[in-house]
Symmetry: D3
Subunit: 248 residues, 6 copies
């Protein structure tokens, strides 16, 4: 099995295969690629707009290279629909996947994310996925994506906001609201337990999506071709690198 | 990994380990148990009522015997909540799991199930799981659970109703509406493709749930203890076999 | 008219005919029965699981003994669907009935119940009954069912939480969230009025359900046999006492 | 007990005490009044507009005359809110009451009403009462209110449309969609049973509302004064007959 | 173009043509009329009941006098449906129009209105218009309609509640909740900007409705005659002034 | 006033200023631009992906050139959010605008669009805009965007599908589902009237959006900067033409 992680950004160090391999099954070869053209990180619909064409290109290339599935490494699920339209394999986004998994395990969930500016994107996704009644609250840590790893601020803010989600908002589960928060689920679970809230699931969205992808690949399930029909062939100006791989 | 399938019925031949092992990962030892006390099959809320105590007993016993997860082998998800309350492991039901998976892959889905009499149970589950807007239609084949395998009727009825779901109702995916329909997903997918509807996902609920369980066990995710708190200790009359294992 | 109250617990002193007779019409003979097998009280889905078979037995026996209606004396409405399936008479649950009555009288309502652990059960019922948009808040008094009557704690906690529901949450009506709180509606109404909140309806669920049952019996209305179809005859292992009365 | 039926029309023969007395409890004295000013029947929002002031006057007069409750005898529930604001007693409307009762007894319900022109009014009420997901279909018999009783057309059309609601639309219960259809519930129930659909509840809205009113009067429940606050005193031009009774 | 503003009250000084003309296009002649019979202001469903007949009369008269559209100058949208039924022109209400405009511009909106007593009317309208998920909060300034202009209280209260809506409730836009607050949008926008919340749209409902009316008149769009069918001709007692103009 | 129409395609003849000028106010100078890079037409999420960067560039350029508003000339509303983030002016999309206008005028509406393949995009938009309960049906004419004008097929198919929407589905209004159907509203309105359905509003989405834009520009209303916050400055690789204008 080969699962390709597409990090929809141009910053090289944020997503590496060794981040995923420890969580992958032995029979799953994880490959990671970033974009040639696109934003350093995604924190707006504008950032998504300039990420989209190259996300789709990476997805098509992954399929050509034998991937069984693509996982988009961003909680905005950018390019999910377009990539599903132009490939025949499984493509998953971490927002959709992790919110559905949270809905399987708990009455409701809160999302702890980067900054207030991404809240509208989350509300938009939640409405599209039909999960409005499941969302307890969305709390930002107010740290930009590219600074999540630079100093020790993330731990304090993440722990503090997740605790408020549980104690003040009534959250039954926590979804980490940025794939750049990868790796914090276990520590946060323990932190919550130490404060009297054992057994609150904390969902690491991109790792969860990788594992769900493994399961769905085994099952042979791919996105509905009726929801994501193959686009009609037509002239596209520009985007030569993309059109080269799509039209082959 | 050890995943325990609890078939919430007393009919021995319907669920056997060899039904699941071909789909399980090599590192997953699948065990199946049926009930001592309960109904021959589940087709009503009454049937569920007399299945519940022994489902919970089987779940507790499975955990004691080292199971990492329990999968309840019935599309009514009977005993899902109670079993989650009295265990600390993962417990999944095929209705909840497969409907969320379908929602990840398609705009909407139709359910093809056994008889009209189980429609209210489905509508009840769909409301509880908050997926009303995702359900396109529910179509019965009008074959009782215990007769699904006895003659050739299932194939014709299943193919016919699924095709109507796609062509008349507008379904983008199909969820098999009884775990006794296990094994038909591949053939039905081909049948739909032969009629011009390639790429419609057909979800085999109990096998899908088994695979999602494998993924969630790897992730260490279990149901929220806030949604499913441990019941307070109290006197229970009767149900000695159950209370023996719960109170140990 | 004969209305049978089934208290789905094994604790004898909590539900007695004299609790209901003062509220019943003169032409209504109220009979109360408790369970032989089951829990001392219901505060979890597990408790419900071990109450269900005997609730259904009591409902069937009541119909055989000439009851016009059964009222299930628990805010979880346990066994409501199964009892409706195997009888032809009216069966009502206090959660469903009182929440619909509250919806007739007020823009929204808050529920004041026993402990935080039953909140998920309420949310589940509210989703099933389609009343999510009507619920203002659910507030627990944090007193176990079996201790509601043992000391003076209930009054203070009930008054305090109901007042918070009105003043802080914006409740337009209050539904008592445990049938064990029977009898407190009038005093709580006065308490709210003394604090400047006259005219807030306080609904005593089981008494309200008894009265609605009287009305519906007069009207000859019973649950839909399409929503609650008669279960197909099939083998059931165990539950002899129940199967004896169901299959007669 | 004294329950006052306000028929919000000026046509004298449509609502008479003897229509209600056979259904009322012996201790309930039913009084009926019609309007001095208003429409001959209600089939539009315009008709409601010219009925409202006198409906409110009749409700206030009823309370002054000792009524325990007012039932508005029209499926548009005209004047329900305004009458609740200016009185302290119970006021019920048959649309709200009967749709909530139907929701207690069945998964969904269809409404069989007079003409297509009143469908928007029903959809408006259904949205206000939050019952959109409960409504299966609304079918008109295409007979004006004032002709419901003049020839034999109603029976055929009512039977035919109700049968279609059950067989084609999947209705689990039927609500008669005009209080002028009072008295047809029993015959329609039999008709459906003769066509293989026994046990489908048919709800006669105004009679059902009368009986629910009896129950709620016994319980001392009245509409929330927070949802229906007493209007501030202010100058009103015209409507002397109404203002005389309101301001006394 | 001629747009007629119907102020559904009998207080002469509150709505004058010069309030609207500065906002109207040059080719739009704005005419304003108030009621002969009706309330001094509208703050309850009762007030609406006694305003309705004359609102409808004013709408019909406006059409006869050549109006292209009527704008009802009250946030309860009283008489909107009835006026649409008996005319062929455009009729708009400021609640419906401004809440839809707010929904085009922002994720959610808060309403700042007069008193707590009108909150139920707003919730009722919001449910009818299907915008429940768009409303962030409704905050009253607790100043009666007729006192909005008498002293300086409005500015402080309006600024304070709008700021709380933005900072505490999370509002992305503000809708002024009474047409008597006409003219405050610009100042409130500046006030919010001075407190660090630039770019929050503040919607002046009646002026916005006037402008949307101009656009829809240009487009030739009028309300659906299927949603608002012409009422059948029938006898109406009283309301001679109205019936004279309707039946001509 | 200057309103800029951005046709998010590279096909020059489909959107020209003379298409819009006859509908614009005299004081409104309409400018139209198409994309340098992008698809010939938009019929998939893939097409949208390759249109987005240049749509945003055109919006930014329009603002720099003094535009008061941008109207995106495509029913997928592509780039609406991103364009709102990076400009301070009004930006409107025809899907959002026309569906809200339809909701102001009718109980529900049907959309008649190009092909079945765009239905998922509509359902996605409808969920995001929260208008699911307003949509009666979506019917395709099965003509590709670029062939809408090439032969006489459109009129027959459009008339036929709209009539089915009204007669079979129960539509109260029609929204044309492709901005390439611009200009057909009047003829379709007449066609429906000739078949007995006078008074059904037919909404031409892009013209309607142009007119609503004129109204909102007069009002000084722009999208909420809280819903569409200015994206943080960051490195973007590629998209030089866009980044040149955004960062100036």
């Amino acid at each position: 099995m080969k699962i390709h992680v597409v990090a929809p950004i141009t910053t090289p160090e944020l997503s590496r295969a060794e981040h995923f391999t420890p969580h992958a099954r032995e029979d799953n070869e994880v490959v990671v690629s970033i974009l040639d053209d696109g934003p350093a990180s995604i924190e707006s619909q504008f950032d998504e707009a300039v990420a989209l064409p190259d996300i789709v290109r990476r997805a098509v290339e992954a399929e050509s290279a034998g991937a069984d599935a693509v996982v988009i490494d961003c909680m905005g699920d950018p390019g999910l629909g377009a990539s599903r339209e132009v490939t025949s394999m499984l493509v998953l986004g971490p927002a959709q996947t992790s919110m559905h998994v949270a809905s399987m395990l708990a009455l409701n969930f809160s999302i702890v994310t980067t900054g207030e500016s991404v809240l509208p994107m989350f509300h938009d996704l939640i409405r599209r996925y039909g999960l409005t009644d499941r969302v307890c609250s969305i709390r930002p840590v107010e740290i930009p994506v590219l600074e999540l790893h630079v100093d020790g601020r993330l731990q304090d803010a993440l722990f503090s906001e997740a605790l408020k989600a549980v104690e003040q908002d009534g959250a039954h589960a926590i979804v980490l609201g940025c794939t750049g928060m990868r790796g914090w689920a276990e520590l946060l679970t323990e932190h919550l337990a130490q404060h009297g809230h054992g057994g609150i699931p904390v969902i690491d969205p991109v790792i969860t999506t990788l594992k769900i992808a493994e399961a769905l690949v085994d099952l042979g399930l791919t996105p509905s071709s009726r929801t994501y029909p193959t686009p009609p062939v037509k002239t596209v100006r520009g985007y030569d690198a993309l059109m080269d791989v799509v039209t082959r």
